[in-house]
């Protein structure tokens, strides 16, 4: 091999070696997520004498809430989320363990998101030490750790039906956050999709908060969750409607006003007045930080789908741990098979024009047809002959390939609303078992942050000095006719490597 011969080791001024800065601060333990599992991990570590940073993105900025990041808020947060002081109090108040951790010496960083985490591994030796990337609304920074505990929770699995792209269609985790953590839910009358434990608990939460629950809707032919909870809801006057699936959410200027349901096998539609449709069909462990770190992942339906490979709480990576829902969810009724039942029923009753990706406006038929986006104009005859099924015949179906072609999952919500349903659509359209569909890749930043926030405005001198637009190979850019001629040296002297094309 070329590189293995002995001899003096030269230096490439444009290589990344030595250019990435060390963090300003480091902790023995950094915990991402101050929910019950994360706050407890932080508290325990502090009681053991470790220096601990506990990071939580709540209260989330109104801009991200509007993007359905990190949860599927569906435009049903009140103006209260615009008041940072009140929101901080709410977040502190919602989990007493945060205050306990703070009392025990944990440094608590609220309203701070983790957008990436980096350790050296295959293809990467440039990180001077393990870091997690953090940001608030003004700036970003990195923080060193000896141990990283990811306690990022879970997010809602969203499914598309006509009208789901208007305010008032949201997820159960988001509803729980708006009710319990923020006290900032704008809805008054909600229909809940699902009847498993998640849906039932969501309904009881809503009732407790004084929200009118119009009905639970179940795609299967009977309620799925524990009978005791079903009985409590029915006793409270909340019907559990079975064998039905949303056809359309009708609405006006403020979003949803009516949910139209249809029997799974076809039949007369049913209309329910409501201002909110809450999807409580399933949760997806929030594994994005673990994924960008390179932790080994596996598909385990009993733990909620794609989850980290764990030994206890230890991931496959040295010093990286996962606790709480992101480590895997004890799914009861709401496993991937349940989601697929919903998806099949929605495809059965829904129009092909239903948008599966809101950000990029990709319809279900465009996804299944692997169509190019509308801004590229009409489909060519050749492209009309292509589909998910022709791709599946060419090789195992891969969501990343389909994202690139259709743009589904490529928008600012970072596929939070469409990742799982696109995978389910690939599964149903091509007959590929869900577990055989690769996980669409997660990419840093795992929160969508503005350029000016993410930017390193105090970049190190080595980075600045060694920056080249490409590889800094001056001979690369010499016009062909000048190669080997007298003008070659002149161009190299004048240009160096810095070519911007």
């Amino acid at each position: 091999m070329d590189g293995e011969a002995s001899g003096p080791l030269g230096r490439d001024p444009h290589s990344i070696a030595g250019k990435l800065a060390r963090p300003d601060r480091r902790f023995d333990v950094v915990v991402i997520g101050a929910g019950p599992a994360g706050a407890k991990a932080a508290l325990d570590a502090a009681l053991d004498g470790s220096s601990v940073l506990l990071v939580d993105e709540n209260p989330v900025s109104p801009g991200l809430i509007g993007l359905d990041v990190p949860l599927y808020y569906g435009g049903r947060a009140t103006g209260a989320v615009q008041n940072p002081g009140r929101m901080l109090e709410q977040v502190f108040g919602a989990n007493p363990l945060i205050a306990a951790a703070f009392e025990a010496g944990v440094e608590v960083a609220l309203a701070t998101s983790a957008w990436g985490a980096y350790i050296n591994g295959p293809g990467l030796n440039a990180i001077p030490e393990p870091v997690v990337g953090l940001a608030d609304e003004q700036s970003a920074w990195t923080c060193g750790f000896r141990r990283l505990v990811v306690a990022a929770g879970a997010r809602d699995i969203a499914l598309a039906f006509k009208g789901w792209d208007q305010p008032g269609v949201m997820g159960a985790q988001a509803l729980h956050a708006l009710l319990a953590r923020y006290d900032a839910f704008a809805g008054r009358r909600v229909v809940i999709l699902g009847s498993g434990a998640l849906a039932l608990k969501t309904a009881l939460d809503a009732l407790r908060a004084g929200v009118d629950v119009a009905a639970l809707v179940e795609v299967r032919d009977r309620p799925q969750g524990p009978k005791a909870l079903v009985d409590r809801l029915v006793g409270a006057g909340v019907p559990v409607l079975t064998g039905l699936v949303p056809i359309e959410a009708l609405g006006g200027v403020s979003g949803v006003e009516t949910l139209v349901l249809g029997p799974v096998g076809g039949g007369a539609p049913v209309e329910i007045l409501c201002d909110t449709v809450c999807q409580a069909i399933g949760l997806a462990p929030a594994i994005e930080l673990l994924a960008v770190l390179g932790a080994q992942l596996t598909f385990d339906p009993s733990r909620g789908g794609h989850v980290p490979v764990l030994d206890g709480s230890a991931s496959s990576l040295h010093g990286v741990f996962a606790v709480g829902d992101c480590a895997g969810i004890a799914v009861g009724e709401e496993g991937p098979a349940y989601g697929l039942d919903w998806m099949r029923a929605l495809i059965g009753v829904g129009e092909p024009s239903v948008l599966v990706c809101q950000c990029e406006e990709v319809s279900r038929s465009a996804l299944i047809g692997v169509e190019q986006p509308a801004y590229l104009g009409p489909l060519s005859d050749a492209l009309r002959r292509r589909s998910l099924n022709t791709l599946a015949r060419e090789g195992p179906i891969n969501p990343d390939q389909i994202k690139r072609l259709t743009r589904a999952c490529m928008g600012p919500c970072q596929a939070r609303r469409c990742r799982e349903q696109v995978a389910m659509t690939l599964c149903i359209a091509t007959g590929t078992p869900l577990g055989e569909i690769p996980l669409a890749s997660y990419r840093a930043p795992v929160r969508p942050l503005p350029l000016k926030v993410l930017a390193d405005w105090s970049e190190g001198a080595a980075m600045t000095a060694g920056w080249d637009v490409w590889f800094g190979i001056a001979s690369q850019w010499i016009p062909y006719r000048d190669i080997g001629g007298p003008r070659e040296a002149m161009h190299i002297a004048a240009l160096g490597g810095d070519m911007h094309m």
């Binding site: 590189g3 444009h14 709480s313 350029l451 094309m501």
Partner: protein, 393 residues
């Protein structure tokens, strides 16, 4: 004539170079089979900036002729857009770009020099920090991911085949010619072989006694949420290359690379680093009116580099039915013309539209064996975890 266990021409590598070559060969009526260890366009071909402005290349005239026709020729959209603007934020860069403009004019291309006012008119996202720049009326950019899939589909539409997830395990010779390609999915005979396997090209050639010096490296890019469309989407400067996609996203790269090693299976991973912060800063400086846009992804790709950064495109003499094509980091933009050149080399033995003699492997005959090491183009040994062993949580 299609053979049950082979093809007239086998192409190793389903990136833009291999697929364009296969498509050109299929256009000439040959039975072509493309083999790839993974998925179409999965490596650098689908991870680059989409630039198509490599004026220094002998293939550039042909590239320029072909790009405006590619959507029609392939039958699929490539998102090709003409022209580029290069903006300077410092007097040094401005002088640098003016030198480039002089080079372009000498080569016969139109370039306009823009003052600060003209830059702000031409680039709506530019700010008061722009001193000026150049507007080149050649070159352009396209969507790499769409284009590479378009080549594959267009090839199939002509009867060519692409076998994904099929790794080559050996190349067998007979009578001084390549005869059989061994893969993880069986053996394939061929009359001619094209190797366009990116960083793996050298590894595939080594057992045939052909030494192709290549150094692979990892480079990174970022992409933002969409901005309103600018008339010229190919706007570079401030140490960045990139483009505004037709969707409006700003996709930009630049800055330091990491030298790595790859084996026959390719890179084990394509991780990114906090370099995305340095890229974000430079993009916020280059296009201040886009500084509020959210970064929604970053990614890395692995690029092979020859010692002089120039391609190797050559039909070898031993074995004489083997064509090698490695583009050293500028493969995407040149791909329409590269495929044509490879087609010519396979069928006619010589490129019909340009002299490409200086892209021969022969130029590296005297390269010292430790060339990577002496330049520092080598992967750093894995550093030990610097802060000790973690305890249990």
């Amino acid at each position: 004539m299609q053979r049950p266990n082979g093809a007239t021409v086998v192409v190793i590598g389903a990136g833009v170079t291999g697929l364009s070559s296969a498509w050109w060969l299929a256009r000439s009526g040959l039975d072509v089979l493309v083999l790839d260890k993974g998925v179409v366009g999965w490596e650098a071909s689908g991870r680059n900036g989409g630039g198509a402005s490599h004026y220094h290349s002998p293939l550039f005239q042909e590239e320029q002729r072909l790009w405006p026709q590619m959507d029609a020729l392939l039958g699929y959209a490539t998102e090709y857009r003409r022209e580029r603007i290069i903006m300077a934020l410092t007097p040094e860069h401005l002088a640098h770009y003016r030198y480039m403009a002089d080079m372009h004019r000498e080569l016969g291309y139109r370039v306009d020099e823009l003052d600060a006012q003209a830059i702000r008119e031409a680039v709506p996202l530019a700010g008061d920090n722009a001193l000026g720049g150049i507007h080149v009326f050649f070159g352009g950019h396209a969507n790499p991911q769409r284009t590479v899939q378009a080549y594959a589909w267009a090839l199939q539409d002509l009867g060519g085949r692409v076998l994904q997830h099929t790794a080559v395990t050996g190349v067998e010779m007979q009578g001084g010619r390549v005869r059989l390609i061994r893969t993880t999915r069986g053996d394939f005979g061929c009359d001619s072989l094209v190797i366009a396997a990116g960083p793996q090209t050298g590894l595939l050639l080594e057992p045939l006694g052909v030494h192709l010096p290549l150094a692979p490296a990892r480079a990174e890019m970022i992409v933002t949420e969409p901005a309103p469309l600018m008339a010229v989407g190919g706007v570079d400067g401030n140490g960045l290359y990139g483009r505004q996609t037709l969707r409006g996203n700003l996709a930009y790269g630049g800055g330091p690379h990491e030298w790595i090693d790859v084996d026959a299976q390719g890179p084990e991973a394509r991780p990114t680093t906090p370099l995305l912060r340095n890229l974000s800063r430079r993009l916020a400086e280059l296009l201040p009116k886009a500084a509020h846009l959210r970064v929604i992804r970053s990614w890395a790709g692995v690029i092979e580099n020859t010692p002089d950064g120039r391609p190797v495109i050559e039909r070898l003499s031993h074995p004489e039915n083997l064509v090698v094509a490695t583009l050293s980091g500028v493969g995407f933009g040149l791909s329409p013309a590269t495929g044509h050149a490879v087609r010519d080399l396979v069928i006619d033995g010589v490129c019909s539209f340009a002299d490409i003699g200086k892209l021969s492997l022969a130029r590296f005959a005297d390269l010292p064996p430790d060339w990577r090491r002496s330049r520092g183009w080598v992967a750093e040994a894995m550093r030990a975890a610097p802060l000790g062993l973690p305890a249990e949580v």
